[in-house]
Symmetry: C3
Subunit: 461 residues, 3 copies
């Protein structure tokens, strides 16, 4: 009886001013809390589902597409970062404003994760590259599958040195390939079909990768040739140093013949890379830089795309040095210089000798959150002797490119970029009709002194 | 002491009848609320993540696939909306029941959004079209990349007239292309590689788009030809009116020669479209309609696919009129008439003269939530003179198609549709062996009077 | 007045010890609950959106990729499950360790669901298969679209026997195809372009599928031939029994000629399958098995890929028997035996006669959560007479394969697998130079006695 009265009194006292009618009791609130808890539990589960089904699939890609026109209002399809006579040797020049191709890479990824933390990763990469500006490109299409592989991480059975290692098999680009974007050139491009393991902990600050990649010289179906090259690689990361060794073996390669074939096609190859990955721009803050040397012999003389070139002389020798970096000078200006040079001899024919060096610098000047001016200067020196004929000279390019970005403050590698570019390219006339290849009718540089106008999109994500 | 007693009293009073044992105190409830709040906060963040990772990718597409058989139980591969002699001129007939191809467009889209509201949109379109019914089509495949472009919207640096404009670059179908679906014909199909800007606000109800598209005549790789055509377009939307101007320039086109080449291939072209987009079916409610006129000269005489045809005479002239609409008469019946007609002269050869007109009507009759009967009647008149020979006559088609849909109430453009169709097609015998092309062995219409049976899926999403 | 005092007293009594300052009143809590409820409601809607946009798209696939090398350190491209002389007849051997191809299927799926439970499903399958180990395969690419179809489920208009049926149209692999994975051989592979309906309820435990599939003999574009074959199928599931009937009609097939063509190419075909799908391993628990017989005549004599082969004699006859199963013996060992045998006569040429039988067994031995050893033994007997020449003999294969998996406990069909495999293959020398085809220069088995080393990834999801 008494408590009843008390309750009402308390209830009245607790009556919220907002309430239109009666005061809620604690049990009212409790009921609502119970309801909230069960709703939230359901919702948490649904969120989990949505999250996991969303994260099971990933879409990533790279693409560039645009128009390239010269001052004669015609297409300029013989341009690009490998347009010089030394391009056949893998000598790049600055890419900005030279690219006429519509190129894309589309990665479709499937992730699977177990509760114990172990995970499986599967990737397909579709890629295509065409020059035509048309929308229907069935006759020109190069659409193909560049990667298809699976890898495991954090397997409970992997312990000790293998505890944090990742194991894979299939067709892929090696995880640790890296490039000088501005030259459209990888430092090493190790790729093919095989298997391997990453991040074997050899000691506290020494991690090693081991892999075997297969390559084919020529095309299996179309050319009918099927010479396999097997590349065994050990790739070491010791602190900021990278030391990479590759050995390759292609038993039948010496039997292949074509009209520009090497004097004596190599059956074996050796390749080494020494690189330093610096967290600073040659000691300066707000930047980074990478420098190194590559050396190879026989099939290893193709220093970038390891083991991909069968048309190398058995005593081919090549050495390449590179250094590049990126530095934010202030809120407005950033600079990215790059240097790459190579010497090779007895590369294809006995007594051939090739020297080239490229210096490139890209500079960006920010005007607004979305607009920047990008400038690129590129120079390449060539001294080329294919054992039959020789040529020597220089290539020059200057480009200015008004560029739109979502956020210019995000720096050089923020994409997408929508750009207009005007370039002037010229070179020594001595190079005009020269070709590294001794094949009859091999394509040459042609005449220099051309102005190029480009409209281009570039993105990656 | 006293309060203690009181509390217990109150607690007892507040004891919910459901509770098995003791009454919860306010602090109990507060603790549970605190817990709920922190759980909900976490859950809200996870939901955000799931939402953004889900919305970063979009999959859209169009596809049709099916069987087409004639009354002789053999494939009918020479049929389709462009099956008539005038089809080479871009004259379509009603598509329902005529399509033998398995065609698809798959769009993979990546979205990126900044907190300031600006966004980047990236699209790849894969497309393929084959006639074979087989599941492995590597030998017939036309799989190719029709679009690859990026665009920015709501850039903070874009102000004033550009505040709501969208800027893009790459390879694409123009955003404002529109079509008569029932004829499988765009009114304008502006596409290619280039750059442009949409929705520049010229005045209160006047928006303009500006773009430059490049095209190639012929195939770069396969045909070895590489004649570029550059199309500059200004496309205006003034209220419900659309006024579009295009000028094109193809410097080297006059030098191209093939056995059916134009008398004097055009180097330049002009093209204009005037269209009215009505929110009513010619004044009636529950519908819409679009009407307009296109006119072009030289390279602009290809009125639909602007700048895509290099084999046009330098003084080619063409004019095209169109009108079409969709009207829901009642819950059961809907009707969609379409009219398109064109006159062109000196189009390919001097003194050639081509007249054609198509009238098509599609009618749907709803029976249940999932089933409707679709009827299509199509008529085309042709008066064709390629300067060497001429032909005149008519084409007729009648189709009846039982159709399954997820929701017939959603109207003509609800997809997917699973349909069976029976069509009867016939035409004037005068047209049987006539070809617009003067090339030797050019394909002709053949004989009419055929019954066609189709099983087909069509979808877009 | 009095209540005021009481309230304070109660408030004090309810003061939570954690609370820093004042006791919350019921109205405080109520306010927080109101807030929680509105936040949760918003969050629930967002979760719905995220869930539906995530579930609208699905990515599924199959892929295998790897290296295959023989003891001479050269590629072994003539190997595979159909490497024997009888392979041309569809006679497989165990696949483990023999596959050199990089093959993938990527399925892009769009789901749509209405509130009434009806749903639309749309699928595209991209597929590719190449032998080259290279990463850029444009010259070898077989990338093509194997499936593109749409289907409806749970349509409200479908009632009675059709209530739970699914209707489809387009190009597809039939839903009810099933295979012996270890032999890389379907039991039936019904595929092509057409339409059909699944799960028509004929009686309580009898469901039937009806479909029409079109096929093309040869390639439309490349070969220019376009002979269509129409296959009508009724496929019944009665309890665990499957009874499937197919009839086919290809009017123009008799007119096709090529250098290895059948004596008299069939115009018609009949095909039947009787199968039993057991939930036990031949009566034993922890397993399952499938057994059956296929029989066909004329165009139906291609017993697996129904209606896909036009080069069959008009009185061709074939019968095939199969049985296979999977049994988990204990936590460590699992076994999967498979048997397939076929007799056919007058198959291609009058009086030809072909007998073959394959026995295969795969055994897995689990060592850890991620590692197992897989063993496969395969034997095939052949007695082949193509009416011109004959050969008789046996094929043997033994394979041992250390295999990595995410979860070995999940059994035989858990993927991805990363495997190394060593195989020894040999066969009777009588078979070395024999070919089922009478075409000049038809490929043969070559010599046996080869050791093969494989590195391979295989996955599906």
């Amino acid at each position: 009886m008494k408590t009843k009265v008390l309750t009402l009194a308390v209830a009245a006292a607790l009556l919220p001013t907002t309430s239109a009618w009666a005061a809620p009791t604690i049990s009212d609130l409790e009921a609502r809390i119970n309801d909230l808890e069960s709703r939230l539990t359901t919702n948490e589960q649904q969120t989990q589902q949505a999250e996991s089904s969303a994260s099971a699939f990933e879409f990533h890609g790279y693409a560039r597409s645009g128009l390239l026109m010269n001052e004669h209002r015609t297409g300029a399809t013989d341009t690009g970062p490998y347009m010089t006579a030394a391009g056949d040797l893998g000598a790049p020049v600055g890419r900005l404003g030279l690219e006429d191709t519509n190129y894309l890479e589309a990665n479709l990824i499937h992730n699977r994760k177990l509760d114990n933390g172990s995970s499986a990763f599967f990737k397909i990469m579709l890629a295509d590259g065409v020059e035509t500006s048309n929308d229907w490109t069935a006759d020109d299409s190069d659409l193909n599958v560049r990667q298809v592989y699976a890898q495991f991480s954090n397997l409970p059975s992997f312990t000790g040195a293998f505890e944090n290692s990742t194991v894979w098999a299939g067709k892929r680009f090696d995880r640790d390939n890296f490039d000088i974007h501005f030259l459209d050139s990888d430092i090493v491009f190790l790729a093919g079909t095989g298997a391997g393991i990453y991040d074997v902990q050899m000691s506290d600050d020494w991690k090693a990768n081991f892999s075997i990649y297969g390559r084919d010289f020529g095309s299996v179906e179309s050319a009918g040739t099927d010479v396999e090259n097997y590349v065994a690689t050990m790739n070491n990361h010791i602190g900021q140093w990278q030391v990479m060794f590759s050995a390759m073996d292609s038993k039948d390669n010496e039997d292949v013949t074509d009209d520009s074939t090497a004097t004596h096609r190599a059956k074996h190859g050796l390749h080494a890379l020494l690189a330093y990955h610096a967290n600073s721009f040659y000691g300066l803050q707000d930047g980074w830089s990478k420098s190194g040397v590559l050396i190879g012999s026989g099939l290893g003389a193709q220093l970038k795309a390891i083991g991909s070139d069968g048309n190398l002389n058995d005593d081919a020798k090549a050495v390449r040095a590179f250094t590049f970096g990126v530095k934010d000078i202030n809120k407005t200006w950033s600079v990215a210089p790059a240097l790459m040079a190579e010497y090779s001899q007895d590369r294809i024919k006995d007594n051939d000798e090739f020297k080239w060096g490229t210096f490139n610098v890209r500079v960006s000047q920010t005007f607004t959150e979305n607009f920047e001016m990008v400038y690129e200067g590129s120079y390449q020196y060539m001294d080329l002797d294919n054992s039959v004929s020789s040529a020597k000279g220089s290539y020059y390019k200057a480009t200015i490119s008004p560029t739109l970005k979502l956020d210019t403050a995000a720096g050089f590698f923020e994409r997408p970029e929508l750009r207009f570019a005007v370039s002037y390219v010229d070179w020594s006339s001595d190079l005009d009709n020269y070709s590294v290849s001794t094949a009859t009718g091999a394509s040459t540089m042609g005449n220099g002194g051309e102005t190029l106008f480009a409209l281009q999109m570039e993105t990656w994500f």
